[in-house]
Amino acid sequence: MDSERLGWKLAAIAGLAVVMALGLPRLIDPYYVHVVDVTLINVVIAIGLNLVLGFGGQISFAQSAFFGIGAYTFGALQAHGWPAIAAASVAVVLTACIGALLGWPALRLRGHYLALATIAFSLIMGELMVDLDMITGGANGMMNIQGLGLARDDIAMLPILLAVAAVGIGASVVFASSPAGLRVRAFRDNAIAAQAAGVNIRALKIGLFVASAVYASVAGVCYCCLLGYISPDVFAWQTTFAYFAMVVVGGLGSNLGAPLGAMLYTLVPEWLRFLQEAYFVIFGTVVIIVIAVMPGGMAGLVTGLFDRLCRALRPRPVAKATPEGTP
């Protein structure tokens, strides 16, 4: 993908973020600003998961654990008086290291073996969050996390979260079109061929785990700053399914897909609140239908429509010098 197109994409992302930061607080009421804030945190987690799941093709259920490790490290350090930036840096670095440590045994595992290993990891982390109550506050969680001093101020947090999400998406877009990114996607589709071509699989695999851990831990720090309170319930291993659903329904491997999936997952229950007891049933059914009928997910649907629209507006066939790639 040429750098001019890449530039346009990044500009579009930045522009959208700015427009939302300026416009949303004026247009929608404070409750929906809060919902958007929570959505942005989910977007960051989903993008991170898409790196390891969609690009790397590895089934990792560890995302909720990384989310929690980032959040709890930040909260614990702040409880000892650390300032926000320092605490955040340590939280992200620590989680990245744990991601690397997990990525190393993950090298040997594929498919559902890796799935179970990462579930085991998430489950163990969840237990430790509850049991190590000297550090974590136990099942009651941590209250009054200082963060940026903006806890529960949804409107002030909006531009910050938009910036974080925009950078996260942008980084993923840049990576996808970089030589390393293309290598990774080659590896995903055919491990043997990639090996024959001499691609350094080991480094890539571990790198993806580390990257997903970084994204999740950043999201954890953001969560602390937004709500000012965390408890083990937020990071239970069962929540990973939600992130999976976001990525798969949004469109596996697509940079448009992960944010789209996160938005759908967070916003649709709001619209469906009137269904109350039945909306999990509907949601689960929708997930199955989307997987069955739209393997490209929502993003595939959107880009497919967009392509058809472009073709309808330009009826003459245009010779393409470079092959199309997914965004």
Partner: protein, 293 residues
Amino acid sequence: MSATLIQLVLAGLAMGAVYALVALGYTLIWNAVGIVNFAQGDVVMLGAYFAVGWCVDTWHLPIGIDLLVMLAFMAVFGWAFATFVYRPVRNASQLSAIVATLGLGMVLENTVVLIWGPQSLGFAGPLGNATVAVFGARIYAQYPLILVVLLLLMCAQEGMFRFTSIGRAMRATAQDAEAARLMGIKTQNITTLIFIYASVLAGIAGWLLAPVFYVSADMGVRVSLEAFAACILGGFGSIPGALIGGLLLGVIESLGGFYISSEYIDVIAFGVLFVTLVVRPEGIFGEPQMERP
């Protein structure tokens, strides 16, 4: 042998037998179609709810009849599962298939609450609260019943796979669907049959579990996970592996909870699992790491 140790081992074996029953379902479906059915525990839950919630509590069917009616329902469910969930996703990636089964699990867990309400249901079962003394230790009579049923099922299944043509067709499809099709076996129908069979197994597991653990929407989630772990311990794809892995996991949890700590029981059990995956992912029966065909 101290009574304590006996009680712990027996309780562990009973829990393990439950894991083994569910693990069997995993193994069959995996061997046949290369999908890990993360909803298997929820299928168990569905069977339990149908048997207790409707057959017993609402229609007041006698014990035994309620089991048969429920199994008939589970057979229909298995067919629906194969037709409406498996068939559409069979060409999707393995990840998509996993997420689809997770979605199915979510649908099942919430549907049972919509139909039968959020309260747990109690069920006396065929043996009520009867207890037996084994080597001087008292345990629920239901526990040995579960073990006996498991063994009988394994024998019956082995017999079916060897001596009936349908069984042989099922086994052939499970080992190599392409070759089976080339030999004239209608693999599409056999696959549906495998789903039906796995669902019926899950229903039996639910019916056996209900008296001991109550029927609740969350009864399937943990069992799913532990049965999955049991498969890996025993060697994914191996039927004796599912059995041994399940029993072993149950005993590890039981002994670990007593001799080490009940607080860290999950950390212990899943720590063991994690180490197994790192050191010897093919588990006890040494099947090589199987990818989806």
